[in-house]
C-alpha cells in the first residue's frame, strides 16, 4: 500500500491544486475573445487526476460545477484510458454527452509526466455562435439539429500539432469564425497553464506522494460533507414549480422534486417532472446532476473548494426521456431555465428543516435579450447577447439583494451604457430599479430592473424571459415577487408585451423595455420594522402610499415614521 502523505505536503499540494485552477481560469478569462466569456464568465476550468476526478476547479458559471470530469470519464468508457496520448487535445460539444447546449465547448487534454498519464486539464466556455439556424442560438428550436454543429469527442491536436482541417471545419461553421478560433486558443492556453503547473508539482513531490495526498484531500472533503448533511433533519421533502412554456407556446412545463434526507445522504428524485418537450428547455442528465450539485453546494459547505471527494453524499435520479434526462433529438438550447428553477425548488424543499440556511426564491432566469442587425455607422453586422439582473429572495436577518445576476450565472457584469452605445447602434436612455417589484416580507425580496433600449437601425430582437407562471415565491408568510414583463414598440405597429420571441423583425426607432422580476419576501410583511420601511421610502424603493397599503406603516411627508398611527393601524 502507498505510504500515507504527511499533513504538511498534503496541505501544500491542496493549496497548489486550488491555485492552479485559479491561474487557468485567469488565463481563459483574460484571453477570451467574446464578452459571453470575459464578462458573462460563462466558463469553467478544472485540473483532473488520471481517472478524471477533480483536483482543482475554478468556475465562472456555477452551473458548470462538477461537470468536466464526466466528459473525460465518458470518453474513457468509450475508448479506454490508453486512448489518450501525449500531445493530444480534445474537443466535444454534443449535448447528450456534456449535458449542456451546443454553444458550450469542452476542451480537454491529457497531462503526462515521465511518459505516464498523470491527469487532465479541462475547460468549458460558451462560444458565441456554433452555426445554429439563428445567430447566437435560437429561441424556438424543436430539435438539436437546428441548434448548431454537434461534435462527439474529436482530436483538435495530435502530437502537439493542430489538426488544421478540423479547426477550419469549426471556423467556417460559426458565424463569427474568427472569434471562435480566439476563444478556442484561450481555452487551449488555459489548459497549457494547468499542465505546466501540475507537472511542476509532480517534479517536486513525485507522483506517489501526490496521489496519496490526493486521496487524503478527497477524504477530508467527503467527511466534511457527511458531517454537514447529518445536521439536516431526516425526512422526505417536496417542492415543485412551472416554466411558462417550452419556448414554442406549450402549456406550462412542470418540474417536480422529492428530496430524501437520510443520515449522511441526500437523494434528489425528479420523478413527476415533465416529459422532454418539443421546445428547447431540455437537458442531458450530466447537466442535471451539475445543477443538483449547485443546489447542494448552496446549503452544504458553500465555501469549501470542490474536488473528487465532494458530492459523494448526493444522489440524483430523473426519469429517462424527461426534460432532465433528455434524449436525441431533443432541443437543448435553453437547458438552464429548468435548472434554475430546480435549484430554487431544492432550497424551498429543505427550508422547513433548515430555515437558517434558506432564502425565498429569486427572480429565476437569465432573461436574455439578443439585438442584432447591421450597424449603420460602419456597415458591420453586430449581435448583442445580454442576460439581465433581477431581485433575490429575502432571508432571516436581511432583505434580498436588489439587481443581482441569477443563480445559474456567476460573475456576470452588465454592460455599461457607454460601452454598449459605442459597440452597438442602440441607445439606453433609461435603466433602473423597478419600483415595488420585490415581494413583501419582514425581509423583503430584492428589486428587479427595467432597461430601455432604443434601437437605431432595422434588425431583429430575440427574447427569452421566464418565470411569469411561477414568479419568485415568498417563504414563511413572505409574498411573491413581481413577475417579468417586456414591452416592445415598433414604429407604425401596435405596442405589445411579450416574454419570448425569436428573430422578431424590428424597424429603426424601435423601443424595447425589459422588466425583470423581484425576489420573494421572507416572513410576514406586517412584522417588518417600521424603520426598515422608512429606509425603503427614503431610498425610493417603496412609495409612502405603498408603505401604508402593504406594510401598514404611516410615514409623514417630512419622511418620519408616525409610530402611534402605525401601531394603531397594525393592531386594528
Amino acid at each position: 500500500m502507498m505510504k500515507k502523505a504527511d499533513p504538511i505536503s498534503t496541505e501544500i499540494i491542496r493549496n497548489a491544486f486550488i491555485s492552479i485552477a485559479q491561474d487557468m481560469n485567469a488565463v481563459l478569462i483574460r484571453s477570451a475573445y467574446t464578452p459571453v466569456i470575459y464578462e458573462g464568465k460563462d466558463c469553467v476550468v478544472a485540473l483532473l487526476d488520471e481517472k478524471g476526478e477533480v483536483l482543482g476547479q475554478s468556475s465562472g458559471l456555477p452551473l458548470f460545477l462538477g461537470n468536466l470530469q464526466v466528459c473525460v470519464q465518458e470518453t474513457a468508457k468509450i475508448y479506454g484510458w490508453d486512448y489518450f496520448k501525449e500531445g493530444d487535445i480534445f474537443f466535444v460539444n454534443d449535448s447528450f454527452f456534456t449535458g449542456t447546449h451546443l454553444n458550450d465547448i469542452t476542451i480537454f487534454a491529457p497531462i503526462f509526466w515521465k511518459k505516464q498519464l498523470a491527469g487532465f486539464s479541462a475547460s468549458r466556455a460558451h462560444w458565441l455562435d456554433v452555426g445554429a439556424k439563428d445567430p447566437g442560438g435560437s429561441m424556438d428550436s424543436s430539435n438539436i439539429y437546428q441548434e448548431g454543429f454537434r461534435w462527439p469527442v474529436t482530436r483538435l491536436y495530435e502530437n502537439n500539432e493542430p489538426k488544421k482541417e478540423i479547426i477550419e471545419f469549426l471556423r467556417i461553421n460559426g458565424r463569427f469564425g474568427y472569434s471562435l478560433i480566439g476563444d478556442m486558443n484561450a481555452q487551449i492556453a488555459a489548459g497549457k497553464t494547468g499542465e505546466k503547473r501540475f507537472q511542476g508539482i509532480l517534479d517536486r513531490f513525485g507522483i506517489d506522494l501526490v496521489k496519496s495526498a490526493r486521496d487524503e484531500i478527497f477524504r477530508q472533503s467527503e467527511e466534511l460533507e457527511r458531517d454537514a448533511v447529518k445536521n439536516i433533519k431526516n425526512g422526505t421533502y417536496y417542492a415543485d414549480g412551472f416554466l411558462d412554456d417550452d419556448g414554442l407556446g406549450s402549456d406550462p412545463v412542470k418540474i417536480n422534486m422529492k428530496v430524501i434526507v437520510e443520515d449522511e445522504k441526500i437523494t434528489i428524485d425528479l420523478d413527476g417532472s415533465a416529459d422532454q418537450t418539443q421546445g428547447p428547455v431540455n437537458c442531458g442528465f450530466a447537466q442535471t446532476i451539475s445543477a443538483c450539485r449547485v443546489a447542494f453546494k448552496l446549503l452544504i459547505n458553500p465555501k469549501r473548494p470542490v474536488d473528487g471527494g465532494t458530492f459523494k453524499t448526493l444522489e440524483v435520479t430523473a426519469p429517462k426521456g424527461s426534460i432532465f434526462k433528455a434524449e436525441e433529438p431533443a432541443a437543448c438550447q435553453w437547458y438552464f431555465s429548468s435548472l434554475g428553477l430546480l435549484i430554487d425548488a431544492f432550497v424551498k424543499a429543505l427550508s422547513g428543516s433548515a430555515k437558517e440556511l434558506s432564502a425565498a426564491a429569486h427572480y429565476g432566469d437569465s432573461m436574455v435579450i439578443f439585438i442584432g442587425g447591421v450597424d449603420p455607422r460602419n456597415n458591420f453586422p453586430f449581435l448583442s447577447v445580454e442576460p439581465t439582473c433581477g431581485g433575490w429572495g429575502g432571508f432571516e436577518g436581511s432583505d434580498g439583494a436588489d439587481a443581482l445576476i441569477n443563480n445559474v450565472n456567476g460573475g456576470f457584469k452588465d454592460l455599461p451604457i457607454e460601452v454598449f452605445e459605442n459597440k452597438y447602434p442602440v441607445s439606453i436612455f433609461n435603466y433602473g430599479f423597478r419600483e415595488n417589484s420585490g415581494g413583501l416580507g419582514k425581509f423583503r425580496g430584492g428589486s428587479g430592473l427595467y432597461r430601455e433600449y432604443t434601437i437605431n437601425t432595422d434588425g431583429f430582437v430575440s427574447l427569452w424571459f421566464e418565470r411569469s407562471v411561477t414568479p419568485a415565491w415568498g417563504l414563511f408568510g413572505g409574498k411573491d415577487g413581481m413577475p417579468p414583463n417586456v414591452n416592445i414598440k415598433i414604429p407604425e405597429q401596435t405596442e405589445k408585451n411579450i416574454l419570448k420571441a425569436n428573430g422578431l423583425q424590428i424597424k429603426n426607432g424601435t423601443v424595447l423595455t425589459t422588466y425583470t422580476g423581484g425576489g420573494g419576501g421572507f416572513e410576514e410583511p406586517l412584522e417588518r420594522k417600521p424603520d426598515d420601511v422608512l429606509k425603503d421610502v427614503k431610498n425610493r424603493y417603496v412609495s409612502i402610499e405603498k408603505a401604508k397599503e402593504d406594510y401598514k406603516v404611516i410615514i409623514t411627508k417630512g419622511l418620519e415614521v408616525d409610530y402611534k398611527a402605525t401601531d394603531e393601524l397594525r393592531n386594528k
Partner: protein, 669 residues
C-alpha cells in the same frame, strides 16, 4: 541641506533623512500619532534637525485611506444623467460569491437617496442630444445648502468624450453653494468610459476629499510656521509624487500611496545594483504584499477594486494575500491549515504573551530559533518562547507529529502559499520568476525570503539596508508623475497616423502645463505614450508602448508581441482596436548620491544560537548587521539581525554584503 520622507504606519512613523552635504542617510522612528499624523513627523524632525534646513519633503498620507476603511468619510451627493442614475447603485449586478443564496451586495459609498438626476444627455460620439437643465441643478443646490453637504460628485454619460455639461454644472453650482464644498467631476478624475466605475472613482474623491484636504492644509500651515519654504510633495498611488496643491484637487490619487514606497525603493535598487527584474516582497504581521519591477520599471495598472469599490486610478500593482507572522495554524477535520486567519495584534501570536492559544508563523520561527528569543519584534516587543512551545506541542500531538515537524510544516505551508501567490501574478504578466531576483523588506520578509526563492527557483535574494524602513527610503527616490488618459476608440486598420499624432500632442501639451505648474523645467520633463489595445470583440486590453516616432507598423507588431507574451498566443492577422491612449509625464527630481549607512545598534551583538533547519539542529552564527563589512563573504547557516528585521539563511547558501550595504544571498551550485 536635507531631503526628508515620512512613512506613517499604524504603530510607528518612519522618517528618513538624507543629509545631502555629508552624503549620509539616517532613520528616525517615532510613535505614530493617529489623531493628527503630522504631529509624529514634527516631533521626529524637531528633535533631530532644523526644519528650515530641509529643501525637500515627501509624505505618504494614510488619512484618506483610513477614512475610507473606517467609513468615516464625508457624506457625498452624487449627480448623474437623468434616467440612468441607478447604474451607480446597481453596481453592474455581479455576484462576488457563487454559492450563496443569502448573498448581500457589498454596498456603495453613497446611498440611493443621495443620488440625484439632472436632465442632460450627451451621445456616444460627444454630440449633445439634450441640453443641460440648470433648473434641476438649482433644486439640488438648495438641498446641498440646506443639509450642509460638503462633497459632491458629478458623472454624466459620455463625459469622457465631451465634458461640457460637467464643467457647466460646476460653474453653475459654485455660484450657489459654499466655497469649501468639494466638487469632483468624473471626467477630471478618470477620463475613461464605464459610467459606474467612473462615478465610483469620482465619489471616492469626494468621500475622502474634505478630510484629506483639511489634513494637508494644516500640515502645510505647520510647515510654514516652522520656516519651511519649499514645496511639500505627496506620494501618489502611481509611484510618483505631486505637490500638495495638486493633491488637493484629486485626493483619490493618493489613496493607496502607503505601500508604494517599497516598490519605488525596489525600482531605485534595480538601477543601483543593475538588476532590472525584481520581485519585491513585503511581509508584515497580517499580510504579504508582492510587486514587480520589470525592465527597471514598476508594474503599474490603471484600475483597481478596494473592498469591492472600483477605482479608475493608475496605481503600482501591489498584490496582497492574508499571510504574515500572525497567520494561525489550525485543524479542519484533522487536516492542517495555515491562515488566512490572523491572530492580529490582539491576542497576537502565543509568544506575545497576551493569551494567544493558537500557534502562528511567528511562534514557529521563534520555536525553531530563527527568531532569537532576545530579539525585540518591531524593535520593542518581548517574546515568550515557552508560550510558543506549549501551543505547538498541543497541536502537534493532535496531528501525531513532532513539534519540530509541525513548526517547519507551518513555515513550509505559508511559504508555499506565498510562492503560489507570486506565481499567480507572474502568470498573469506572462513572465518567468527565474529571471528575477527577490527583494525582501518589511518586518518578516527577510525571514522567509530564501524559502520563497527556493520554491520559485530564484537564484538571488537581496535584503536592502534597514528593510524595516525601506518604504520610507523608497519615497526619496521618486519623481513627479502625472498620468493622463484620453478615450481613443478606434479601429486600428482604418487609423490615420495623423489622428494619433494629434491626440498625442494634445495629451503632451496638457501634461506639459501640469508639470509647469509643478515648477518642472522643460529639460527635466519626459513623456511616455502607451495605448490600450485589444482584438476587436475583446473587453480586456493589453497596454502597448508607443515609441516617439509613432510608427504604425511598429505599434502593430508591439501589440501582437505584448499579447503573445501575456497570453501565450496571438492572432497576427486578427483586426485590433485602440481603447485609450495613456501618457505618463515625468518631472525629474534631483536626488542625492547618498548611500544609506547602518546605524550602530549596540543592543545587537554577534553571537551564536541553535537553529533547526530541515529537522536538524545547527549551531548558527548570528551576525549583527552593522558588524558585517562591505564585500565580506560568508556561508549559511547564518542569521543577520538588525533593529527592524531578522534575515535567516539556511545551509547551502552564501552571503555577501555588497558595496552599498545590501545583503545578497545566493544558492550554492
Amino acid at each position: 541641506m536635507y531631503r526628508v520622507s515620512a512613512d506613517i504606519g499604524g504603530t510607528f512613523t518612519d522618517i528618513v533623512v538624507d543629509d545631502t552635504e555629508n552624503n549620509n542617510i539616517k532613520t528616525i522612528k517615532v510613535l505614530s500619532t493617529p489623531d493628527n499624523p503630522a504631529n509624529a513627523v514634527f516631533n521626529g524632525l524637531n528633535s533631530n534637525l532644523e526644519i528650515e534646513n530641509i529643501d525637500f519633503i515627501v509624505h505618504g498620507t494614510t488619512v484618506g485611506l483610513n477614512a475610507f476603511l473606517e467609513r468615516k468619510g464625508s457624506r457625498v451627493l452624487l449627480i448623474m444623467t437623468k434616467g440612468i442614475s441607478d447604474t451607480y447603485t446597481i453596481a453592474r449586478g455581479d455576484r462576488k460569491e457563487l454559492y450563496n443564496v443569502r448573498y448581500s451586495k457589498p454596498g456603495t459609498l453613497v446611498p440611493r437617496k443621495d443620488v440625484f438626476e439632472v436632465e442632460e444627455r450627451i451621445m456616444w460620439d460627444g454630440s449633445i442630444k439634450t441640453k443641460l437643465n440648470e433648473n434641476d441643478l438649482s433644486k439640488i443646490a438648495d438641498i446641498i445648502n440646506r443639509e450642509d453637504i460638503k462633497a459632491i460628485s458629478i458623472c454624466f454619460l459620455h463625459s469622457y468624450v465631451n465634458p461640457q455639461h460637467e464643467i457647466q454644472s460646476r460653474n453653475f453650482l459654485s455660484k450657489l453653494i459654499k466655497e469649501d464644498v468639494v466638487i469632483s467631476l468624473s471626467h477630471e478624475i478618470a477620463r475613461e468610459w464605464r459610467e459606474y466605475e467612473r462615478a465610483s472613482t469620482a465619489v471616492m474623491n469626494s468621500y475622502i476629499g474634505p478630510v484629506t484636504n483639511n489634513y494637508l492644509k494644516s500640515l502645510q500651515k505647520q510647515l510654514e510656521g516652522s520656516n519651511y519654504k519649499k514645496p511639500l510633495y505627496i506620494m501618489q498611488s502611481n509611484g510618483g509624487v505631486i505637490r500638495a496643491e495638486s493633491a488637493l484637487e484629486q485626493p483619490v490619487k493618493t489613496l493607496l500611496s502607503g505601500p508604494v514606497g517599497g516598490t519605488i525603493g525596489g525600482q531605485a535598487l534595480a538601477k543601483l545594483i543593475k538588476r532590472p527584474n525584481l520581485i519585491c516582497v513585503d511581509m508584515g504581521g497580517t499580510s504579504f504584499d508582492m510587486s514587480l519591477i520589470i525592465n527597471g520599471k514598476p508594474s503599474v495598472t490603471n484600475e483597481t477594486e478596494q473592498e469591492f469599490i472600483p477605482l479608475l486610478i493608475p496605481l503600482v500593482d501591489i498584490h496582497t494575500i492574508g499571510a504574515g507572522g500572525g497567520s494561525v495554524a489550525w485543524l479542519e477535520n484533522e487536516a492542517l491549515r495555515v491562515g488566512p486567519r490572523s491572530a492580529g495584534a490582539n491576542p497576537g501570536p502565543a509568544c506575545y504573551g497576551k493569551g494567544g492559544q493558537e500557534p502562528t508563523v511567528t511562534d514557529a520561527n521563534l520555536f525553531l530559533g530563527r527568531l532569537g528569543k532576545e530579539s525585540k519584534l518591531g524593535g520593542w516587543m518581548d517574546l515568550d518562547l515557552n508560550a510558543s512551545e506549549n501551543v505547538l506541542k498541543n497541536l502537534s500531538e493532535r496531528l501525531n507529529i513532532s513539534p519540530v515537524e509541525l513548526a517547519e510544516g507551518i513555515l513550509s505551508i505559508i511559504n508555499a502559499k506565498m510562492a503560489d501567490a507570486i506565481r499567480t501574478i507572474t502568470v498573469k504578466e506572462g513572465i518567468d520568476p527565474r529571471e528575477f531576483s527577490l527583494v525582501a523588506f518589511g518586518g518578516a520578509g527577510s525571514m522567509h525570503a530564501v524559502w520563497l526563492a527556493e520554491e520559485l527557483e530564484i537564484n538571488e535574494i537581496i535584503v536592502p539596508n534597514d528593510p524595516g524602513t525601506f518604504s520610507a527610503w523608497g519615497m526619496l527616490q521618486t519623481d513627479i508623475r502625472r498620468d493622463l488618459t484620453v478615450n481613443f476608440y478606434q479601429n486600428f486598420q482604418s487609423l490615420e497616423k495623423q489622428k494619433l499624432l494629434e491626440n498625442f500632442n494634445k495629451l503632451k501639451n496638457e501634461a506639459t502645463e501640469l508639470l509647469k505648474s509643478e515648477n518642472v523645467n522643460e529639460s527635466d520633463m519626459s513623456f511616455n505614450l502607451t495605448a490600450d489595445m485589444r482584438y476587436i470583440g475583446q473587453e480586456y486590453y493589453v497596454n502597448v508602448d508607443i515609441n516617439k516616432n509613432i510608427d504604425l507598423d511598429e505599434i502593430n507588431k508591439n501589440f501582437h508581441s505584448t499579447y503573445e507574451k501575456q497570453y501565450g498566443h496571438s492572432t497576427p492577422e486578427g483586426p485590433s482596436e485602440f481603447i485609450n491612449l495613456r501618457l505618463i509625464a515625468t518631472g525629474k527630481i534631483k536626488k542625492s548620491e547618498s548611500v544609506k549607512s547602518i546605524e550602530n545598534d549596540e543592543t545587537i551583538k554577534d553571537s551564536k544560537r541553535k537553529i533547526i533547519f530541515n529537522q536538524k539542529e545547527f549551531e548558527t552564527k548570528i551576525y549583527a548587521r552593522h558588524n558585517i563589512k562591505n564585500n565580506q563573504r560568508f556561508d549559511g547557516p547564518a542569521v543577520i539581525e538588525e533593529s527592524t528585521a531578522t534575515t535567516v539563511i539556511p545551509p547551502n547558501y552564501s552571503i555577501i554584503k555588497d558595496e552599498f550595504g545590501n545583503i545578497i544571498i545566493t544558492k550554492d551550485k
